[in-house]
């Protein structure tokens, strides 16, 4: 009897198969967390993709096709992502977008590569907008993967380029989460600092377990005792917020250079006391000087999604480049678009943007943004606080270029 019920269920599922692809839409499956602890950042990403699609559609779409963004919740779980990937394929999706979590990215790079090998003629293109592990554009690079964000090493290039211009920084403390990403950030920081500012003393290099520390005060006091005047950290989520909060409470006076200071929810948790101290290396902030068209784009977004702030500028870049590549190729076939994207260079709202042909990594200007009270025209999270950067805080895309070990295998 119990089994009969499961049979009925299975049969019901079998019939509930999805509708096929329709010819006049270009579907992008957005595979990221939409529920659970990482739901908010996934939701932001989805909003920006949807908005970018609406903007493109208003101008007639891509190659005459309307762009449709389908949000699929992967719960930041690699295995679940593969199920959602299959769901996307069954709906006739040929483009997927993902950003949260290198574990998910790793599973998807692999899955896309295998799918394309096993299903020729039905290839899928992977638009990575935020998973920054360098390995995806190095040892594990794939023809079907394009990254629109600077990878962790490039960000460190940018951070250290910026430090080069900061004479007052003499002692640096590196702290990070004890896993592959944290270790990679620490290694890149040591390597770049020794090369670019040999006079700087690295007074500490520490890893702490991922997401387990409740009170960072002991770490912060170690940092203060070491006399550091800058902290470099790749921490994200609670690990970053708690670190910054503790540092501010204990009266740390130096700079805290982060990768993810601008991520969702951080501003409220850090609070006003963090202004002037916390910096984040990003490709865009909403207080940059903007052209009218770009300002309209940003304001339009913030008006439509009033609870959300414009953060993932790279999504707008990715959508524009997708459209340009399709126009260049005269087709919306992923393979043709992939070839067209290789080596594409254009003038974006923030400067020159290039998609490297050798490893499918984007090069774009980076900005060392400061969490500030002053000079803020667009605040974040309904606070009068926001992210600003000055003239010296700009690092050109070309300067962040790193050597690649990628041996790209292109389909014939």
């Amino acid at each position: 009897m119990k089994l009969v019920k499961s049979a009925a269920l299975a049969a019901a599922m079998a019939f509930a198969s999805m509708s096929g692809a329709s010819a006049d839409t270009l579907k992008i499956a957005f595979i990221d967390p939409l529920s659970g602890p990482f739901g908010p950042s996934g939701q932001s990403g989805l909003n920006e993709w949807t908005y970018a699609a609406a903007q493109v559609n208003a101008k007639g779409g891509i190659q005459g096709k309307q762009v449709e963004v389908i949000g699929l919740d992967n719960k930041v779980n690699p295995k679940e992502s593969l199920i959602q990937f299959q769901k996307a394929i069954d709906q006739g999706v040929r483009f997927i977008a993902q950003g949260n979590g290198s574990s998910v990215a790793s599973a998807l790079v692999d899955a896309v590569e295998k799918h394309n090998k096993r299903n020729p003629g039905d290839e899928v293109l992977y638009l990575n907008y935020a998973a920054v592990d360098p390995v995806f554009t190095n040892d594990r690079c794939s023809f079907w993967h394009f990254r629109f964000d600077a990878d962790a090493d490039m960000k460190m290039e940018a951070v250290t380029d910026w430090i080069k211009g900061q004479e007052q920084i003499k002692k640096v403390y590196i702290i990070g989460q004890d896993y592959s990403f944290g270790k990679a950030v620490a290694a890149a920081a040591v390597k770049n600092l020794t090369a670019k500012r040999p006079d700087i003393e690295i007074v500490g290099n520490e890893l702490h377990p991922l997401g387990k520390v409740k009170d960072f005060t002991p770490y912060v006091q170690k940092i203060i005792s070491s006399g550091a005047d800058a902290i470099i950290t790749g921490n994200w989520g609670a690990d970053m917020v708690l670190l910054i909060k503790s540092a501010m409470d204990s009266g740390f006076k130096g700079e805290i250079l982060t990768y993810y200071g601008g991520s969702k929810g951080a501003a409220v948790a850090m609070g006003e006391s963090a202004t002037g101290h916390v910096k984040a290396i990003v490709e865009h902030n909403t207080n940059l000087p903007m052209s009218d068209a770009h300002a309209a784009y940003v304001d339009g977004y913030e008006a439509e999604y009033s609870e959300d702030d414009y953060y993932y500028h790279r999504i707008s870049n990715a959508m524009k480049m997708l459209a340009m590549a399709a126009d260049k190729a005269g087709s919306t076939e992923p393979k043709a678009i992939a070839f067209a994207l290789e080596g594409m260079t254009w003038e974006g709202p923030t400067g020159t943007i290039t998609m490297r042909a050798d490893n499918h990594q984007i090069l774009q200007p980076m900005f060392m943004s400061t969490f500030s009270k002053d000079g803020v025209t667009r605040g974040v999270e309904d606070l009068p606080l926001g992210w600003t950067s000055g003239a010296n805080d700009r690092i050109e895309g070309e300067a962040t270029k790193t050597e690649t070990t990628c041996k790209m295998k292109r389909p014939s």
Partner: protein
């Protein structure tokens, strides 16, 4: 020297916060045998209530009313939830609280959003109290210390100087005896559960702005509370206190130690660059509680001060 002073101070404060959080669970667990998975969720509720109340009025009002509110919710959970499940045994009770923790998490996300809320230290206490070896010491941390001590004193007074306290003490060590003395056991259970939750709520009021108030705070604190209770031992608030202190100090001191495995076991040929050799004591600090938990359960299942085995 400065490391020792700092570690001592931080360890004690963190330990006291842990004790505030776990004392309620020790009461509940010892009397009712329920290892409440949702205990840390009540801690979270305390923080969120305090945030909402202090937005509307002031932190001081929140300090009093938020724990009471949490206590009432706790009592209600016992009355209409746990009691129903009780007949199905301890595993069912454990699973009930497991599900409850899950639900509270989701409900908190709906009501207060999925990001951190801006729950601040009251302005009255938002200043550096003193400076020690170049680092400032926030006044609020010392305030935390006093609240915890006051709670400790209050708890001690109630348990040792009031009739209700004596009944509870008897019940802590001999849970089966209370019924024989003619007391209304269900009501005692409900009260104890409520009071235990209120204590967690108080810890939330204090800890929410000391740390961060977000929906992940319950999950973060959950397991460590168990460690305190189990290591401290059944039926022993003193044990919970010692365990909390031990954990607080252990973790803060471990952070201060830069030694790596390679330095310790170097004589065995463990190299600095190997995966095991590169692990430092400091990076292990947050894992120590769980190591301690497993070891205690293996070696001394009654905990540090417990009067009986789990």
């Amino acid at each position: 020297m400065e490391t020792i002073v700092f570690s001592l101070l931080n360890g004690v404060i963190y330990g006291l916060l842990l004790f505030m959080l776990s004392s309620g669970l020790t009461l509940i667990f010892s009397m009712m045998g329920v290892l409440n998975f949702a205990h840390a969720s009540f801690y979270m509720l305390g923080a969120y209530f305090a945030y909402t109340i202090s937005e509307a009025s002031s932190f001081w009002i929140a300090l009093i009313f938020a724990p009471i509110l949490v206590g009432l919710i706790g009592a209600a959970v016992e009355r209409w939830g746990l009691r129903t499940v009780h007949v199905n045994g301890h595993v069912a009770e454990l699973l009930f609280t497991f599900g409850l923790a899950y639900l509270i998490d989701e409900v908190v996300k709906i009501i207060w959003g999925r990001n951190a809320v801006d729950y601040r230290v009251p302005e009255l206490l938002d200043f550096p109290l003193f400076e020690l070896f170049g680092a400032q010491y926030p006044a609020y941390r010392i305030f935390t210390l006093f609240v915890a001590l006051a709670m400790l004193a209050g708890l001690w007074f109630i348990l040792n100087r009031t009739r209700a306290g004596l009944i509870i003490q008897a019940a802590l060590t001999h849970p089966h005896m209370v019924g024989h003395l003619g007391h209304n056991v269900p009501r005692i259970f409900m009260t104890v559960f409520g009071v235990g939750c209120a204590l967690a709520g108080l810890a939330g009021v204090i800890g929410g702005n000391y740390l961060v108030t977000d929906p992940a705070m319950a999950v973060q604190m959950g397991p460590i509370v168990f460690v305190v209770v189990v290591v401290g031992g059944l039926g022993s608030l003193m044990g919970a206190f010692l365990a909390a202190m031990l954990l607080g100090l252990l973790q803060t001191f471990a952070v201060a130690i830069d030694t790596r495995f390679a330095d310790i076991f170097g004589f065995l040929g463990l190299s600095e660059t190997s995966e095991v050799g590169a692990i430092s004591i400091a990076s292990l600090a947050p894992m120590l509680p769980f190591l301690l938990l497993v070891i205690i359960l293996m070696v001394r299942p009654r905990g540090l001060m417990g009067d009986r085995e789990l």
